[in-house]
Amino acid sequence: MKTKFVYVLTLFFTLTACKKDLLVTEVKDQFTENNFLKTEADIKSALTPFYSLFGTDWGAADVATGNYIGSFNVALGGIDFITSKMTDDMFDVWKDPDLGSFAFGAATFNSNTQSVFFSRIQFVARATQLIDRLEKIEGVSDAVKNQYLGEMYCMRGWLLWILYDLYGPLNPILDASQLSNKEMQPRMTAEAYLAATEADLIKAIGLMPTVRYNGNLNNWGRVSKSTASMILLKLYVNTAKTPADWEKAKVIGTNLMGMGFSINNSYRNVFLEPANNEIIYAVPGNAGTFNWWFKLVLPSDAVIVNTITVRPGWGGMGMNWAFFDKYTPGDRRLETIASSYRRDNGGIRNRSNGLQYAIPMKYMRFVPTDQGFDWVMFRYADVLLYMAEITNELGSGAPNNTTIDYLKQVTDRANVTIPASALLSKQAFKDYVFEERAKELYFENGNRRQDMIRQGTFISNAIARGKPLATAKNLVFPIPANVIETSKGVLTQNNGYN
């Protein structure tokens, strides 16, 4: 008996001591290094998060850190929402005192929280990593490979441009050999940074086979040659200093004009007709996605706005009356902006009885229960207005007819007559184009901030609106203070935020 038990126990101990494979770490719900990125489906999955950054839902938690990454296009917190608080068009009902009064400092935003998009620099490195893996991938055809490589170059170029617009030149990792380098590199020069961005977009234009997806609705939402061109055009226009820069802008603008886009007959319909010919890029939406736009713009007691029946929203933002007053009566764009609404108690609320702002509906078909709809990001009218600006810059005096005609395509549709005074000089025309851009592109993807900065009115206008804290430093955002601290001094702060 005794010996038997000792025997059994000895056997048990021996077993427990030896079965090594029992302890292998198992991960059942994720890919590992060994089984990921083998098929075209894997490539699609790997590309998707870069698109997802542009989604219209709130955003996602970063899978690596758990930190929330807000979407660029979420109505309540996207780039437009953040930057419009600092421009003249938005009435911020909820008030973001930091942004609205230009009181923010380097410590106001933290890279671990939502911040102002700084942490997206990580996605540049992720793009670099994916591009590197795609370059080396085997078992897929060159056509497939080039398609996805082109998209990735476009996405990386786009991210680089957004970060430049918000922060100036940073230190993104663009070279795959540097991905695991523990030493952080200093910020690139503006020239090098822009050249790299430009190179990515040009590469993307070269690699992607498709010009546009307006007629190919299965792939509606993918970037194409025209998308990359549009980003490049924005980059050129917003960074142009010399006539040569403007020439480059003109070339790419002209290319875009030859890509088959046209201006829609109706301003209102640009935002209602799916994949219409004016849209260069839109984030697709349907009942399976979210969009919080109507929640944002609809007051919490609104039931009918400009004849359409709605469900009350959260009333987070409106359009300043001063901005609303820029539109002349008869401007067709006013069809998409409401100056009064019917309340759920039956009454009407308007400017005279306490409504402090106009309602910038833009999308005049109410989509219930926060379902997604196509969110227009780039469109042909923007190209036309840029072309008017570019050719005016390249001209020597008053605008010529070609230049005026670019503008006229937009104003005609809006039922607006260009005043003669606007055509008298280069400067007068320039100023008028900016006014027209403001009205045409209201609350579209942060255009207003870019335009005001380019125009040189971003700070002066803020001060005039009673924001004495606005200074030149605010043309870009500060790099979050904790990032500066943890970079051990390698990453330098933007001027004025130290």
């Binding site: 048990f12 101990f13 079965k19 005192p97 410590a107 984030v283 349907n286």
Partner: protein, 1152 residues
């Protein structure tokens, strides 16, 4: 054949070295107490002797030759003795010896197989101690079966019974023999003669108080050499007991139990000696009836999909163990004690032992109580009239703010344009009255019904303890409660003589009605909960409008609190626990055990927001059904060897064992929205238009598997010195592939000073004094083993990296983790030193100890460059330390026949600090290398800037300040406020936690008063978070706390809270903190006052069907003494905390 002892003149017959020690001991007896007398003669060996006039020496030799006995004597002693003439045949040797020594002035004692001849000193006859051997047998009082391994103790020696229950021991006349063993009541027998005695032992209902369950065995409390605290549940207040850890609050020095939510069955934060692992967790390892619970996490979960309106549900995983079933709880605090549990034990171990059946008459206990719960004062919100008045006031104030008007909100001069349109007219206000009190509407008087039945009985072979608990709480919030049923059967089966089979089996089911409370992040608008909604919903509305629909508030995002009562939000929690154990007593000293563990916990949750709840974020309904399970399986085998040598002078206790453990977890949930009808609830998700189908998900957590070997050796010498050495080797799938195995050793030493002879003269005063010290290491394996691997995943189900191409949603996959194959456990090294004492015959007992616990190889994330693809990697780096003192004292203050008063007080202190940091993470400039782990950093403040003079005074440091801003202190006097002015404001951890328990008894009445608390930790001001002046003044006003009127505004420049104007200086404060809202908190909570009345026997009836009965009334949470500004210093202080209850319970405990 005699051998001469070299150092003395004693002769020892047939000397062997084993006997030599006995002889040495006897020499000691002879030397120090040399006068002994022979009395007993019960030895069986028979001899024949026929001699004439021979010397005694010769006689002894003859007797030695005929028997197994050796003779020990001194030759000088024999010199003046007469020669012997005797003739006997076949007589017992001792009887012969008596005859031989008759009239010789000599006597003898028998020790084992030696007969020691000694001198008889008549003159000291009355004062001498007279040793004589006595034999006897110990049997079970119920069935008379012999009992093995019962410890028998006399004044001078001790022994154990053999397998037939027999013993033999030397006693003196009038000596008291003590018979004791685990599982039996101690019995004492006074020795009056030399006859063979039979002693009956009763099986004990409770484990002996002085026996403590330690890992893989038990030890006498007095022999513990490491830091171990044992609590018997009979000493705890079991009224309305939900979970065992809650009961331990304030009971054990160094065990920090914090109740952070008042939800029924809510989660509890437990740590032993401080939480020092930033990422590894601080929960102790729970061992239930010998089974280590590898994964003890709660399966309750907060529904994930759709829009958030459920707050957080946080349940204690130990709710499914009936506290009434628990016999004892042992807390292992130092690494010497915990090392036996190796890599899982860094945060200490809590051993829970349930009650066992006893042999004897079947005993039935029935305990029942009923409780009424009332709400402690809650945060007070404005009534309708005040709401309207203040909405107008703060609305006008907001206009100033919105337009940056001077002097309070900017520099713009008020031009009178954009005048404020008051939200409410004077008529509205005068008609408002108090309006509707939403907090009152959603709360109620709570009740708890708690019933426990246990049946206990068995015979010598089969013993069973079985119990049933029914607990039903209707908590303070409408639709919030829990109902629990727990059944248990603990079986103990003797199979043959040496094999026993034990089974601990319990099954529980808890039905929770959940009401989400607390802070799930976000605001009351984007993350609403019932209480948040009730606090923000305007008091000017009633729940329903004229059409019978639920009203909206001014801000539609505030859910109508009544809507929550239409929701389904339930979870059903089940736990099956089974621990079969087979024990084989191979020999009296050697025991082999095999124990299995099956622990399956699961939760099914159902969540449904109907359309008619009219929640703005779920207008077409929202449902989620989910299931989560955690399963633990284990098997362990071990050998225990316990042996005393040389009459208990050397005791060895050894353990050798091994185990295999596996824990898995899985979860799935299904989300649906778009319900055409409310009719089916969660019963038919298929009818939903299901546009969130993409959010349905399932996941399987990685299984944890462990293989272990462990050993312990405990040696006690002379009942004075105890040495204990432990080691465990663990292999775990939690660890990185390059680091799969770890060894965790521990050692301890104790010195029972009171057993030293030099202690004899103060023994009356200090009856127990033990010094002990230990050193050892244990691990924290609460890490994700997959951190060794690089992984790519689809992200979180609720917010996936998805994108729509065309009409098809595509799932994105991102790198989630950069692998580090070297990742491994954290190692805790603990040094412990302590003193246990007992004074005045144990009227005062207690202990004092100091510990120093250092965590090395802390699991932390190495922060990679922010611009790299994955900005962190799991690393073992850095070190933290917790050190402190613990003090516990139990006193019997008064012990008279009718009145007694006993107290126990414990206090534990600790300070948890960094020792070394991760060199890869640059420290923020204001953070000290060795700061406390939970340090708070921020600017100092100096009140509010109230006047233009104040503004002038800070014009250099706060140039853009406006009235109502906080005034910050330029700490380094450099004329500007920046990172250099950030200072360490203190530590969130309390400095100490304490518990004070007093028990009074007067005749049949008893009264227990229990207080616990802590002191010295920083905390946030608990009122300010509920002031929402900005939301109150919004175009769609939200209700706010009545304290909002204390906010500094243009109309109240005496306000005590800063205005909501932006403080521009904040943009230069990277810590984000300041001391304005902080305070150092202390509190003492009167947790329980219990008054009991035990029915005198005369009321129980002659037949004694009812054996005992006790009635009681208990007051729970009577009050708190604190300096804290806020609702409660301990529980949730964030937005929408669960209301705190004051409980009165009535009940009785009966035994049949």
């Amino acid at each position: 054949m005699y051998k001469k002892c070299l150092t003395c003149d004693f002769y020892i017959a047939k000397l062997n070295w084993a006997k030599f020690f006995i002889v040495m001991k006897l020499i000691a007896i002879l030397t120090f107490a040399c006068i002994l007398q022979v009395s007993a003669d019960t030895f069986a060996q028979k001899v024949s002797l026929n001699v004439k006039n021979v010397s005694l020496k010769e006689v002894f030799k003859l007797l030695t030759d005929q028997s197994d006995y050796d003779f020990v004597f001194s030759t000088t002693m024999l010199s003046d003795n007469n020669n012997i003439t005797i003739s006997t045949k076949n007589e017992p040797i001792l009887s012969v010896l008596s005859k031989v020594l008759e009239g010789q002035n000599l006597s003898y004692v028998v020790k084992d197989k030696a007969i020691i001849v000694i001198k008889k000193e008549q003159t000291f006859a009355k004062t001498i101690f007279k040793l004589f051997p006595i034999k006897g047998k110990v049997v079970d009082s119920e069935n008379g079966s012999p009992l093995l391994a019962i410890t028998v103790k006399s004044k001078t020696s001790s022994t154990q019974t053999d397998k037939d229950g027999n013993f033999s021991i030397n006693v003196e006349d009038g000596d008291v023999l003590t018979f004791s063993s685990i599982g039996f009541e101690t019995n004492q027998v006074t020795v009056t003669g030399s006859e063979f005695i039979t002693v009956m032992l009763k099986t004990s209902n409770t484990l002996l108080d002085n026996v403590v369950v330690v890992g893989y065995g038990s030890q006498k409390k007095e022999n513990l050499s490491s830091s171990v605290v044992s609590i018997k549940t009979k000493d705890l207040n079991m009224v309305n007991a939900v979970s065992v850890d809650n009961l331990l609050q304030g009971r054990v020095a160094g065990l920090n139990v914090s109740t952070y939510t008042a939800q029924p069955g809510g989660g509890i934060a437990v740590n032993i000696r401080g939480s020092i692992s930033p990422l590894g967790g601080s929960n102790p390892l729970y061992v239930l009836d010998g089974v280590p619970l590898t994964n003890n996490s709660s399966t309750d979960f907060t529904p994930s999909g759709g829009t958030a309106m459920r707050g957080f549900v946080d349940r204690n995983p130990l709710n499914n163990i009936n506290p009434n079933d628990i016999e004892s709880i042992t807390v292992l605090k130092d690494a010497s004690a915990t090392a036996i549990y190796g890599s899982a034990a860094a945060n200490g171990v809590i051993l829970i032992t349930t009650k066992k059946g006893v042999d004897g008459k079947v005993q039935v206990s029935y305990n029942a109580s009923h409780a009424i719960q009332n709400m402690a004062p809650y945060i007070e919100q404005f009534d309708a009239e005040q709401f309207m008045i203040n909405a107008n006031r703060f609305g006008a104030e907001r206009r100033l703010f919105d337009n940056n008007y001077a002097p309070f909100y900017g520099t713009v001069q008020d031009n009178g344009l954009n005048p404020h349109v008051p939200q409410f007219s004077a008529q509205d206000i005068s008609a408002a009255g108090r309006g509707f009190n939403w907090i009152d509407h959603i709360t109620r008087t709570g009740s708890i019904a708690d019933h426990n039945i246990s049946i206990n009985g068995g015979n010598k072979n089969t013993k069973v303890f079985s119990s049933l608990n029914y607990f039903d709480q209707n908590a303070l919030l409408e639709n919030s409660g829990m109902r629990r049923i727990v059944g248990r059967v603990n079986l103990n089966q003797q199979i043959g003589k040496i094999v026993t089979f034990d089974l601990a089996l319990s099954y529980s089911q808890i039905n929770n009605d959940n009401v989400a409370t607390g802070n799930q992040g976000g605001t009351q608008t984007n993350s609403p909960t019932l209480l948040r909604s009730a606090m923000a919903f305007a008091p000017t509305f009633t729940p329903y409008n004229d059409r019978g629909e639920l009203n909206f508030s001014y801000d539609r995002r505030i859910n109508n609190p009544e809507g929550y009562s239409l929701m389904t939000n339930t979870s059903q929690n089940k736990r099956l626990f089974a621990a079969p154990k087979l024990e084989v007593r191979i020999s009296p000293a050697l025991k082999a055990s095999v124990i299995g563990g099956i622990d399956q916990t699961s939760t099914t949750a159902e969540f449904f927001v109907p359309r008619r709840a009219n929640f703005d974020q779920a207008p077409t309904g929202n449902a989620e059904v989910g299931y989560a399970a955690v399963n633990n399986y284990s098997t362990e085998a071990f050998l225990n060897y316990d042996k005393s040598f040389r009459d208990g002078r050397h005791k060895i206790s050894a353990l050798l064992g091994g185990g295999y453990y596996s824990a898995t977890g899985n979860y799935f949930g299904s989300v649906a929205v778009g319900f055409p009808t409310d009719q089916f609830g969660t019963a038919n998700l298929a009818i939903a238009s299901n546009r969130l189908l993409g959010q349905s998900n399932s996941s399987v957590n990685q299984p944890i598997r462990k293989l272990s070997q462990f050993t312990r050796l405990n040696y006690t010498f002379a009942n004075k010195y105890i040495v204990d050495v432990t080691a465990r080797r663990d292999g775990s799938s939690q660890f990185g592939e390059n680091n799969r195995y770890g060894i965790f050793p521990g050692a301890s030493f104790a010195w029972k000073i009171n057993n030293e002879t030099f202690f004899d003269n103060i023994k009356e005063t200090v009856n127990e004094l033990k010094f002990r010290t230990s050193y050892g290491s244990s691990g924290n394996d609460n890490i994700r083993g997959n951190q060794s691997m690089s992984l790519y995943g689809p992200g979180f189900a609720t917010a996936p990296w998805n994108f729509l191409f065309g009409n098809e949603i595509n799932t994105g996959v991102l790198q989630t983790q950069l692998g580090n194959p070297n990742i491994s456990w954290e190692t805790n090294v603990t040094f412990n030193i302590g003193l246990d004492f007992g004074l005045f015959n144990n009227r005062i007992t207690g202990s004092v100890e100091y510990f120093n616990r250092t965590a090395n190889d802390l699991l932390d994330f190495g922060i990679l460059n922010i611009n790299s693809p994955v900005s962190r990697i799991g690393l073992n780096i850095g070190s933290t330390r917790s050190q402190g003192f613990e003090f516990a004292i139990n006193t019997q203050n008064i012990t008279t026949k009718n009145f007694s008063w006993a107290s126990n007080i414990n206090l534990g202190t600790f300070k948890a600090t960094w020792v070394s940091r991760n060199p890869d993470v640059p420290l923020l400039s204001y953070v000290g290398e060795k700061d406390a782990i939970n340090s708070v950093y921020g600017w100092k403040t100096n009140g509010i800037l109230r006047t233009p003079q104040d503004l002038l005074a800070v014009s250099t440091t706060q140039p853009n300040a406006v009235l109502g801003n906080l005034r910050y202190v330029d700490n380094n006097n450099d004329g500007q406020l920046d990172v250099k002015d950030v200072v360490n404001l203190g530590d969130f951890n309390p400095k100490g936690t304490f518990g004070i328990n007093n028990i009074f008894r007067y005749k049949n009445l008893d009264l227990a008063v229990f207080i616990y608390g802590n002191y010295g930790g920083l905390g946030w001001d608990g009122w300010q978070a509920f002031n929402r002046p900005f939301d109150l003044g919004a175009p769609t006003p939200l209700n706010s706390s009545v304290r909002t009127v204390d906010v500094f505004t243009s109309f109240n420049t005496d306000g005590i809270y800063p205005s909501y104007a932006l403080n521009v200086a904040d943009g230069a404060n990277p810590s984000g903190g300041n001391d304005f809202t902080m305070q150092s908190i202390y509190f003492a909570r009167l947790k329980n006052v219990t008054l009991g009345y035990t029915l005198p026997n005369k009321f129980l009836g002659a037949k004694k069907v009812l054996q005992s009965a006790k009635l009681f009334v208990d007051f729970g949470n009577l009050g708190v003494i604190t300096n804290f500004n806020g609702l409660d210093p301990e529980m949730e202080r964030n937005n929408g905390p669960y209301p705190i209850a004051r409980t009165i319970s009535f009940g009785f405990n009966t035994k049949f």
